[in-house]
Point group: C2
Chain length 129, copies 2
DNA sequence: CGACATTAAATGCACTTGCATTAGATGTGT
DNA sequence: ACACATCTAATGCAAGTGCATTTAATGTCG
């Protein structure tokens, strides 16, 4: 476990994260009115293709529970998802994507892929020593 | 350029960034009173071992110019750096690390390395297809 | 059954960030 | 020399985030 390798990898992660995040924020925002977090949540729901509990989403998205709660609130206000109480455990809330949400996601997906492809086109990940 | 590879790499970057950032924030904050951005700026100055212009730092740290300006302001308030006008171009500002800043950095460096080593200990970076 | 710990999600709050703008200094062209 | 574009850094401001707390529902133990 070379210390040099660790630091190089960290710098790689920092650089790519900043680059991709910044560009995603621009492109998704300007072209589809979505932030990276909003897109990520929609993407996870579409990927599972079912309604998910907030807690399940929490495990998959890299956000705190409170931040996720607000992202879902924004998505709900934009009519891209609906929130409903869970019958079996009325503390729980499940999030269900709407048709409009699905459409918006489908529309935004190529944009996201294009950005990622551009950012990672040359992906000289630091080699393991 | 496989689309799958691109997405996998992105997820890797997202996960490692979140994990490392979160832990750095905790450890650097609790043990040394530094945020990740503050540490990063100190680290860049120590690495160059000279006073740097704000603009130079801007190229190396992944922050906007305004955010960097405020990080430097916080560091100055904590007496870890000093700011001075550049004689040759009086628009410019150079940032100079203090002895206390050097000491704090030296003290925090092992903490940062420990966190990074832990996070990237198993670093199965998605393999290039 | 009843008190208390536990869990899920929402909310108050402070903090950091980026965008847009501003203030001041420098360069340029006529 | 003067007007104007450009550049550097700082600041007003809005937005998103995490931590701590709150509210409501569930589980558990006596």
């Amino acid at each position: 476990m070379d210390e040099r390798f660790v630091v190089d990898t960290w710098h790689y992660v920092l650089a790519k994260h900043a680059q991709a995040m910044c560009q995603l924020e621009r492109e998704l925002g300007d072209r589809h009115g979505l932030g990276p977090s909003e897109f990520e949540v929609l993407d996870r729901i579409v990927h599972h293709d079912r309604k998910l509990r907030i807690q399940e989403l929490c495990d998959e998205v890299h956000l705190s529970q409170s931040a996720l709660s607000r992202v879902v609130a924004r998505l709900e206000k934009a009519a891209l998802v609906t929130r409903g109480v869970c019958d079996s455990d009325r503390r729980g809330v499940f999030v269900c994507i709407t048709d409009e949400g699905r459409a918006r996601h489908a529309e935004a997906l190529p944009t996201q892929r294009a950005v990622l492809t551009e950012v990672f086109a040359d992906a000289p990940v630091p080699a393991v020593p």
